[in-house]
């Protein structure tokens, strides 16, 4: 269900202005997300899943 084309089909009138500065901050948005993904995972999460797993 990937539709790469759809990403370029922003028909909204305000999207035109958005496009001009997009390189600046669109990358930042992605960075915000990727930075968190790259963080080491706190132990609390593995602990929680082990606890759930042992209960089942």
């Amino acid at each position: 269900m990937t539709d790469k084309k759809a990403k370029n089909l922003v028909s909204h009138s305000s999207a035109h202005a958005a496009k001009q500065v997009k390189p600046d901050w669109a990358n930042g948005l992605r960075q915000l997300y990727d930075n968190v993904v790259a963080e080491p995972l706190p132990d609390a999460f593995a602990d929680l899943l082990s606890k759930l797993d042992s209960k089942t």
Partner: protein
């Protein structure tokens, strides 16, 4: 309860573990603060675990758990559990320094700007612009039409672009209250739609 030693149960746990970093990233983008975001992820994991028999193997674990996280977030927001406080310990990385601005734009400025967006536009932009979902996938996660997602993403982008162009990005320690008010104002609309 499924047999934990069955291949399905084992792969469910493995896949669920694999999407935790993504759940944390989505949650952080939605609610701003790392501690609250992680609480939200824990809540999501509990709910996902309890509902694991409804997960269809072979489908996207990330999309499935994002639906759960989003619903938990909206419920918690309605109970006013979240404030749009921004965690100042987040790395102040320089994002871009447009000419004629008072200073460089940091990732945290970006995040604060994101938090001023109405919740429904913020989540749409996070899913498509940060999480890399297609419009179709984002529409499925949010339970709305593809056109609606496109429109929300377009508006969100236009708002952020406007803030950057005019230098009106909310800066450190100035806009948390503003962001919170903006979010709360839009919340009723989200909960109705």
């Amino acid at each position: 309860m499924p047999d934990p030693s069955s291949p399905n149960a084992a792969s469910f746990k493995r896949e669920l573990t694999g999407v935790i970093p993504h759940l944390r990233a989505f949650a952080r983008g939605l609610c701003g603060r790392a501690d609250l975001a992680d609480d939200l992820v824990q809540e999501t994991l509990l709910k996902a675990w309890a509902a694991q028999e409804r997960f269809e193997p072979g489908t996207s674990m990330r999309a499935w758990t994002f639906v759960i996280l989003r619903n938990a977030y909206l419920t918690d927001m309605r109970r006013n559990r979240f404030r749009a406080d921004y965690d100042e310990t987040v790395a102040e990385r320089i994002l871009t320094a447009p000419p004629g601005q008072e200073g460089p734009i940091h990732l945290s400025d970006m995040h604060r700007a994101l938090l001023t967006l109405p919740a429904e536009r913020r989540e749409a932009l996070l899913l498509v612009g940060a999480g890399g979902f297609s419009y179709e996938e984002a529409a499925e996660i949010c339970g709305c039409a593809v056109g609606t997602i496109k429109s929300r993403v377009g508006r969100a982008r236009a708002t952020l672009s406007g803030m950057i162009e005019t230098g009106s990005l909310p800066r450190r320690s100035t806009s948390d209250a503003v962001a919170h008010v903006a979010i709360m104002q839009e919340l009723d609309q989200v909960s109705q739609g």
